[in-house]
Amino acid sequence: MFSLKPPRPTFRSYLLPPPQTDDNINSEPKIKKLEPVLLPGEIVVNEVNFVRKCIASDTSQYDLWGKLICSNFKISFITDNPMPLQKFHYRNLLLGEHDVPLTCIEQIVTVNDHKRKQKVLGPNQKLKFNPTELIIYCKDFRIVRFRFDESGPESAKKVCLAIAHYSQPTDLQLLFAFEYVGKKYHNSASKANGIPSGGGGGGGIGVGGGSSQKTPLFETYSDWDREVKRTGASGWRVCSINEGYMISTCLPEYFVVPSSLADQDLKIFSHSFVGRRMPFWCWSHSNGSALVRTALIKDMLQQRKIDQRICNAITKSHPQRSDVYKSDLDKTLPNIQEIQAAFVKLKQLCVNEPFEETEEKWLSSLENTRWLEYVRAFLKHSAELVYMLESKRLSVVLQEEEGRDLSCIVASLVQVMLDPYFRTITGFQSLIQKEWVMAGYPFLDRCNHLKRSEKEAPVFLLFLDATWQLQEQCPAAFEFSETYLAVLHDSTRVALFGTFLFNSPHQRVQQSSEFAISKNIQLGDEKGLKFPSVWDWSLQFTAKDRTLFHNPFYIGKSMPCVQNGSVKSFKRTKKSYSSTLRGMPSSLKNGIISDQELLPRRNSLILKVKPDPPEQSDSQDRGAEQYFREWFSKPADLHGVILPLLSGMHIKLWKLCYFRWVPEAQIQRGGFITAFHKVSLLADEVDVLSRALRQPQGSPPEAPCPELVQSRVYFHAGGPHDAPGTPDFLSSSFPFSPVGNLCRRSISGTPLGKFLSGAKIWLSTETLANED
């Protein structure tokens, strides 16, 4: 059924085609019309028939026959053959089962095993051999492999070159989203003067889930104004000086500033800031302290003066006139190069071959990537700022050179911890709009859609990972599931959504206006093209599949809970806190008893100073240490602040995200999802019951309106005849399936790690020399 130690193929065995077992492969591949499914504006650039997609590595018996096409959006493998061994496929409506969006491609390797040559294909490169094999390394850790043994050698070569060319565009406007949107505009113009749906999308997910409100995009004055009012911030106003991006091209058109600063002053100050990114408001605590982010002041002469003016203004906006706490993120947190380096190492480790070889040193290798250390650093720093805002009642200013990377993570994490709204789906989406999209996080550069920048860095993923850590520790506090986070991450690799395409809102307007002019699109009053928003989840997933975004453990505000046997509307009172210690983040040292001092040396009984009794607990001087300690001594208030446990063992690897394509790491019919499944069934039952209870008494059961009956959860409580067991298709990778996404073993003879990171070095010394 499975072998524990697969035989290790040699390098030689990799270069020679695997022995054909004719009993399993139809030697005469079926000739049948295989047509790609194309989106509006999508065109097939090149195609090749009789391609074999490799599924398993040690055998070709599962391989699929079909056609490989390259379009301006994706590479697509079209086949009649059903996917073997796969019990479940989470379908993306934009992509077929075997498709890879061009923007998800990391590296393209062509191989000719007769000539023993291989080459990493860049754009506009020549290929001097006819490839027998194509290996696609994807940014999401998948590896897909095709063989061309039966295909026309020239067409195979052409497809490979087309993929290389189209996946590495030279210009932003060549990304498929522009074609797509252009087509939509043309289509809708011919019908009416309607504009394609774009915008905020719904809360998107929630059919019957109560979250059908739209995600605020923070493109308008009113979105900001509503946010100010929602948080109850006084002393802050929305300012419009950046309308038309007159001040800064990397700030939103509207943002929030201290009321005491006049537009005129702001305009003057703005010149002194990097990118003219003057301080702007993120969020206010109910106690009045505000979270503000800013770029650095580049004008050294003016620095003190401006700094003083700004701080005074922020202080003035605080009801208690509290001081400002400044946090210099560049000095305290890893920079984007370090984050990228950690991620590259993590990727190498997760897809490394062979699986068994990384086992022995897995833990230290994981530690050496430093990824978890960085995740922890961001969580820790954010938690400390939570303390400043909540307990010390200080306004916090996040300072960063440009203020467009680390600030995004920290500002978001602080708000996720402090404000339960941002732990709902709509709230979380609005947070990403507010602190990432509108605040000028350079998605284009960091995602590296154009494959040419050294600016690539998974800053956004690091934020999702840190959010996952919080979710892992406080599962009932989040409306969304980890599937949602993983899918959100994947969506950054589908270059269709305006959300993740640009370095700033201004870039969207500028680029799309240019494009519109060149394509004769009438924009009317629109500021740039309306690209589809990622929040319009119906573009990618069916309503049923979207229910997997919901976390069945979530205790929403409106959810009733049971206390002492009676059902109450959920409202946790402070009185229900017990005094049991729940532990505290021991990484937060400098406290009353530091960890090092605690260790009694052998044969000595050192007296430790006893911690002061926490009498002056209301005093402003108590440390963050004590704040955390107290927080952890109470049961978490799911509608209040949540804080992470931060010791080494509490920060974990996000397995769903990083292991989902690794067949060896998949737990069949196991993993957390099986408990998720169980709770979903129960939550569904409870929903059905509560609907039945809400039905007008005495009236006969109505034909249920389908929209109301649409369950919030993916798994339904079936009828009495359903076996109560764990469904066959569940696995620790669910809803993803590693089958076919990674043909691991047969490439295990090659040093894959070199392939992924140092491919150039390797190739230059060994094979590349043969090639060019």
Partner: protein, 603 residues
């Protein structure tokens, strides 16, 4: 209110909970002192001490010593610390500081416990209080050295259910469909004459006569012949356990042993090879030849395939666990947690044990080959492998009672040397026979339950309470090395079984997500990517590390369950009130009374 830093930091100790529980069953309490006492527990002394809490600093308290436990209550008003430690967990008592010691709290006792912690008490130098406490503790923690009975023999607790009735070998074999025409139950070992460390009742091939068995016994270390542990209900392949063959340096052969294994092979017609798993690393197996042992060679056993599983011996495991303690107690190694953890090799050993068990299970279930498992003596690694493989193959063992039977059968009755490995009541803390083999097995079970959250009827608390009482000496369950010794001491008559305590309060140990699935084989992924340190056990004494209790996910589930029951009740009331107006409720597809019953019965 919630800020008292020293409030019951050990409130998650199951020991405490179990006492609270038994107090309802009539445990005495010294009024005024609130010292919990079990029936049969007597107070010996009490002393004022300073407890040097590694997490919160010194705390003044009064320590009470009974013949069962050490109980400390803080005397300080702002801290409600309570320590409740069964004397059985004490491994070593050392005096700290001498008459010339300077400095506060430098004179006292340091107590090393078997459950991953140390306790330090500072005492006054005057009045011989340390000497008294040292002597009393030594006497009652190590009763064997003082010709005193182990507390289990004094314990007078009464429970509604008798845990000794849980395991009845005849019934368990009958459940497996034994005897059948290939396998018979033999009473050859009724008086432990064939093998003094085996149970009285054994299952052997029908075609092997008792004389054959005796001849085989002569060729197996400590006469531990291959006997049946488990039979596959469908393909009828079996898991056999035994000790190593006595091959020795000269490569001795024994026709009877060879024939016996062939007879075992022949009970299974599906494959003509018998698979032998030697749990040891190859080199260890070879080295064992020097002391008369060895392994089954290809020449002698033509129809058998031998694989080594590379699991290390008891000494390696003991040292590994020691390293784990070093990095988690009292302080958790923070700066390089993962590499520190790696350097203990604990998870690596867990991985090897699980991998071995998976191979056994897979061979039996998918490979359709009968399997013989042995190590050197067949009571440590062999017990781990057979019991884990059985847990993977047979869902019955994943229920609370099934697991109790599994432990009772594969560990207790087949002579895992609990007394030697744990050192119950024995003062020789450095005894090379001690080793955390059973703990390692329970850790493997925990790892499996993490990977399959719905597959086990029991929860983490169940596993922890078993480990707590592995050391506590409150129950007779884990006392002595083998069945014959237990019989001689009349353990079942004179002591209480741990299963009595657990089974009379099962709800507390139930996993709410449990979904009973018959015939499902569980294959955990024995990869470092999934194995984790069992924080709630190994680091439970550290108040800063503790994870949320109760588990929030479990808690949410329980809340939903209560909510459902409440809604059903209300709906029923509603329907009752409206019944004359309502048509037959069964016509309504969403009628809960129709949808729920199958689920309701689970809880």
């Amino acid at each position: 209110m919630a800020s008292a830093p020293t409030s019951k930091y050990n409130s998650h100790s199951l020991e405490n909970e179990s006492i609270k529980r038994t107090s309802r069953d009539g445990v005495n309490r010294d009024i005024g002192e609130a010292l919990p006492r079990l029936p049969g527990e007597t107070r010996i002394t009490d002393k004022e001490v300073i407890y040097i809490c590694p997490f919160n600093g010194p705390i003044k308290g009064r320590v009470y010593i009974t013949n069962y436990r050490l109980y400390l209550r803080s005397l300080e008003t702002d801290s409600a610390l309570i320590l409740d430690v069964p004397l059985g967990v004490i491994s070593r008592i050392e005096k700290m500081g001498g008459a010339t010691s300077r400095g506060e709290n430098s004179y006292g006792l340091d107590i090393t416990c078997k459950d991953m912690r140390n306790l330090r008490f500072a005492l006054k130098q005057e009045g011989h209080s340390r000497r008294d406490m040292f002597e009393i503790l030594t006497r009652y923690a190590f009763p064997l050295a003082h010709s005193l009975p182990i507390f289990a023999f004094l314990n007078e607790e009464k429970f509604d259910v008798d845990g000794w009735m849980v395991y009845n070998p005849v019934e368990e074999y009958r459940r497996q469909g034994l005897p059948n025409h290939h396998w018979r139950i033999t009473f050859i070992n009724k008086c432990y004459e064939l093998c003094d460390t085996y149970p009285a009742l054994l299952v052997v091939p029908y075609r092997a006569s008792d004389d054959d068995l005796r001849r085989v016994a002569a060729f197996r270390s400590r006469n531990r012949i291959p006997v049946l542990s488990w039979i596959h209900p469908e393909n009828k392949t079996v898991i056999m356990r035994c000790s190593q063959p006595l091959v020795g340096m000269s490569g001795k052969r024994n026709k009877d042993d060879e024939k016996y294994l062939d007879v075992i092979r022949e009970t299974n017609r599906q494959i003509n090879k018998l698979t032998i798993y030697d749990a040891r690393p190859n080199v260890n197996a070879v080295a064992n030849k020097a002391t008369g042992g060895g392994y089954e060679s290809d020449d002698a056993y033509h129809n058998a395939e031998l694989f080594f599983l590379d699991i290390h011996n008891i000494h390696v495991m003991r040292e590994s666990l020691k390293k784990v303690k070093d990095i988690v107690y009292p302080n958790v190694e923070e700066s390089h947690w993962l590499s520190s953890l790696e350097s203990t090799h604990w998870l690596e050993h867990i991985k090897l044990v699980l991998t071995g068990a998976i191979q056994v299970a897979d061979r039996v279930s998918s490979g359709k080959s009968s399997v013989v498992v042995h190590c050197s003596d067949g009571w440590d690694r062999t017990a781990q492998l057979t019991s884990l493989a059985m847990l993977m193959l047979d869902s019955y063992y994943r229920s609370i009672e099934g697991f109790e039977i599994l432990v009772q059968k594969e560990w207790i009755s087949f002579g895992h040397k609990f007394a030697s490995r744990i050192g119950h009541g024995d003062k020789n803390h450095a005894d090379a026979d001690r080793s955390p083999i059973f703990l390692q097995f329970v850790d493997c079970v925990w790892q499996m339950s993490k990977q399959f959250p719905t597959a086990f009827e029991f929860n983490e608390r169940f596993l922890i309470i078993i480990l707590d009482h592995l050391y506590s000496c409150r129950f007779g369950t884990f006392l002595y090395n083998c069945e014959s010794a237990r019989e001689k001491q009349k353990v079942t008559e004179r002591t209480v079984s741990l299963w009595s305590l657990i089974n009379s309060n099962k709800d507390k140990f139930k996993n709410p997500f449990y979904t009973k699935e018959i015939n499902r084989v569980l294959y955990p992924v024995a990869s470092m990517r999934h194995l984790e340190l069992w924080v709630n056990y190994y680091i439970r004494w550290n108040p800063r590390i503790k994870q949320q209790q109760p588990n929030p996910v479990e808690q949410r589930y329980m809340e939903l369950l209560a909510l459902r029951d409440e809604y059903i009740k209300r709906l029923e009331e509603l329907q009752l009130a409206n019944s004359p107006k309502l048509s037959d409720p069964s016509t309504s597809p969403s009628s809960p009374s129709q949808m729920m019953p199958h689920v309701q019965t689970h809880f």
